[in-house]
């Protein structure tokens, strides 16, 4: 283990504990730590909507901008003032959730392999978001805007690329022209459009990307910003005056921390810090030693083009093409794009050909993982159940990233760990029950914690009949249990198994399979 891996591992465990702690009162649906990206989008939409209104009333001249915004805040506090405050606070929120999102993905090691594209397209968002946010302070053209514009110009002048120092634009009131203000407007309106484009790129290789958080979380967040805007409205400083230096400022540290940092150190230091950080983040996917697992393989003779794997793949790694097999002419076949494939096996769980009830001696399915073929699972399940001698036999299906199921093996329990719980075809649950199991426990990461985004959700939906392929309704529900637990929460699985055992000892509870 490298020296860097120790603090990262510690950081990951701390983050996971924090997520679990938030889960208790909020649940996965309301837990902001599980929806950081979606919250970022929510803040972006809030900024866009409030910004459109602010732009309508903004006087975009150098002499009129301050008065128009100040008047809005004081004379129309109930609408314009609230929207102005929400605009600022949403920008603060955007930056906070963006940094938390970055930290989470880094700590969880989600930057290499098939995730490289999303990581690399996320890195430019950092400077872009800060540029958009900082530029907003200039448009108001109060003492804070003056300070920020001058500090930014001094920072840019730290690079010897401008023939004339940008700071000369702020030497006197005469140099701050309407033309310069047009540039401010372009920065604050043009860059967010570029940001939206970059965000679209960022989620290109993610299926069903969450661009809006769950409704309850969204309402809670909007309500929080609304209350904050009413209790603590954003107001302007004194108008900018280029013959006077700003002195005491109510600085927005979340957005503008870089200015004091520069005056505390130097422009060169901040350039080195920003450039070095961005370079390190860009190189990170190549610095890690994550080995790539073999990707999913399509077996043409068993793929009927049903499109379920296409619908369920979390990383858009599957497309459909005309089927090459003659007797299936006119149909489609799934095509796996190796660069995008996470080798999670969720497609295997979605394939109708993965059912173990098929009578062929060696189970071959339409799409499979070479390193963990579905036929092996059927074979091991059959052998394992035959080896158990207890009166009540229990089967546990788990995953490699959630709570560890291997330690659960006992005289009455066999456990199987797959790459992702989403790899489990639900028919295997019924197969296990018909093959001698008294009950089945299906486990995986907590809701919102799935290593492969959607595996836990799809499995839960398949088992409850909300998603194809679903567990047949004839399976007695009391003989199937689920327990969603992260790594380190193995005690929850033990409790779930004990509950199943107790249930099985009650004679009236164990319904026969129909």
């Amino acid at each position: 283990m490298s020296a860097a891996a120790v603090p990262v591992g510690y950081g990951r465990r701390t983050f996971e504990r924090l997520e679990h702690w938030f889960d208790r009162p909020l649940g996965a649906g309301l837990n902001p730590l599980r929806h950081l990206g979606a919250l970022g989008f929510l803040f972006f939409w809030l900024i866009a909507v409030s910004g459109i209104y602010l732009y309508i009333v903004l006087d975009t001249s150098a002499t009129g901008a301050y008065a128009s915004i100040d008047q809005l805040s004081r004379e129309q506090w109930y609408l314009g003032g609230v929207l102005r405050s929400m605009h600022r606070y949403a920008a603060d929120g955007f930056i906070l959730v963006m940094l938390a999102h970055l930290l989470r993905e880094w700590l969880f090691g989600r930057y290499g392999g098939f995730r490289r594209y999303s990581w690399l397209t996320g890195v430019p968002l950092l400077p872009l978001v800060f540029a958009c946010a900082i530029g907003g302070f200039w448009l108001n053209w109060d003492a804070l805007g003056q300070f920020s514009a001058q500090a930014t110009a001094e920072w840019l002048d730290g690079l010897p690329v401008f023939a004339s120092p940008l700071t000369r634009n702020f030497l006197s009131a005469a140099t701050v022209s309407d033309r310069l203000f047009s540039l401010f407007v372009f920065i604050h309106l043009g860059l967010p459009l570029l940001l939206l484009f970059a965000l679209w790129f960022h989620i290109q290789r993610i299926s069903l990307a969450e661009v809006f958080p769950p409704r309850a979380l969204a309402w809670g967040t909007v309500g929080t910003l609304l209350v904050l805007s009413l209790l603590n409205p954003v107001l302007s400083h004194a108008p900018a005056d280029l013959s006077t230096a700003p002195t005491l400022l109510a600085l927005d540290w979340i957005v503008l921390f870089v200015h004091p940092l520069m005056y505390f150190t130097s422009a060169g230091f901040v350039w080195s810090l920003v450039g070095g950080s961005l370079l390190l983040l860009t190189l990170l996917p190549w610095l890690s030693r994550q080995a790539r697992a073999p990707v999913a393989v399509v077996e043409p003779d068993y793929c009927n083009g049903c499109r379920r794997c296409l619908a369920d793949c979390p990383y858009a790694a599957i497309t459909m093409a005309p089927h090459p097999t003659r007797h299936l002419a006119g149909r489609e076949i799934a095509v796996v794009h190796a660069d995008l494939c996470a080798a999670c096996g969720i497609c295997v769980g979605s394939c109708p050909s993965s059912t173990p009830f098929r009578s062929i001696s060696e189970l071959v399915t339409g799409i499979d993982l070479p390193q963990s073929p579905i036929s092996e699972l059927r074979q091991q399940l059959h052998t394992g159940l035959a080896s158990l001698e207890a009166p009540h036999k229990l089967v546990v299906f788990g995953c490699d990233h959630g709570a560890d199921v291997r330690a659960l093996c006992a005289p009455d329990v066999i456990a199987f760990s797959q790459v992702c719980t989403g790899m489990l075809p639900p028919s295997f649950v019924e197969y296990a029950l018909r093959d001698g199991a008294s009950a089945v426990l299906v486990t995986g990461c907590r809701a919102g914690s799935c290593e492969f985004r959607l595996g836990q959700l799809w499995t839960a939906q398949r088992l409850t009949g909300q998603r194809e392929p679903h567990l047949r309704a004839s399976v007695p529900p009391e003989r199937v249990a689920t327990c969603w637990a992260d790594r380190g929460e193995e005690a929850l699985l033990v409790q779930a198994l004990d509950a199943l055992r107790q249930q099985l000892t009650r004679p009236d509870e164990a319904s026969p399979l129909r």
Binding site: E154, R168, L171, L225
Partner: protein, 173 residues
């Protein structure tokens, strides 16, 4: 049972309100606190800034007929002047002490552009004797432009020291 459920729901609701409140509090606080002292009380700022083309680094050269004959016909200008401009050297003394000294190189690949300077100097508010010396001609030793003045700076005032050849050289604004 129902009481337990209601208590649980109430606890969850309370915790949710608390967490959302903490989030709002964090944004509300750090979007304006702690106040930042961009310039200490009783201080003023002097900004030394100009963009100015230095003089050519050397004299123009009168070509002899023999030298002209070696040139292509379309390039036979009788006088050739160097493109490169002199770096602009500047010294700023405040109350007899050197506060800033810099030699600004001409911009451009051929060093034929303007020299640019920007320097921020913080001073205590009050009366100061400021002397600016500048040399924009490498052919001359010493200084080509000098200005000395006594200025009274108010707290937070910004004094801009610029160069404007039409206004007679170094300016204090």
């Amino acid at each position: 049972m129902d009481t337990d459920k209601n208590t649980l729901n109430f606890s969850r609701l309370l915790a949710q309100v608390l967490l959302f409140g903490l989030f709002g509090l964090a944004i509300g606080v750090f979007s304006r606190w702690p106040a930042y002292q961009a310039l200490a009380p009783g201080r003023a700022v002097v900004k030394v800034s100009f963009t100015h083309h230095g003089k050519p680094v050397s004299e123009c050269h009168q070509l002899s007929p023999a030298e002209l004959a070696k040139l292509p016909p379309n390039m036979r200008a009788p006088v050739q002047c160097p493109r490169e401009r002199s770096p602009v050297r500047i010294e700023v003394d405040v109350d007899g002490q050197v506060a800033y000294r810099h030699a600004a190189m001409s911009s451009g690949l051929s060093r034929d552009g303007a020299s640019a300077v920007y320097q921020r100097i913080e001073l205590a508010a009050g009366t100061h004797q400021i002397t600016v010396r500048m040399n924009d001609d490498a052919r001359q030793s010493g200084y080509t432009h000098v200005r000395a003045d006594t200025v009274v700076l108010k707290p937070a005032q910004i004094l801009v020291i610029d160069f404007d050849s039409e206004a007679g050289g170094v300016t204090f604004k």
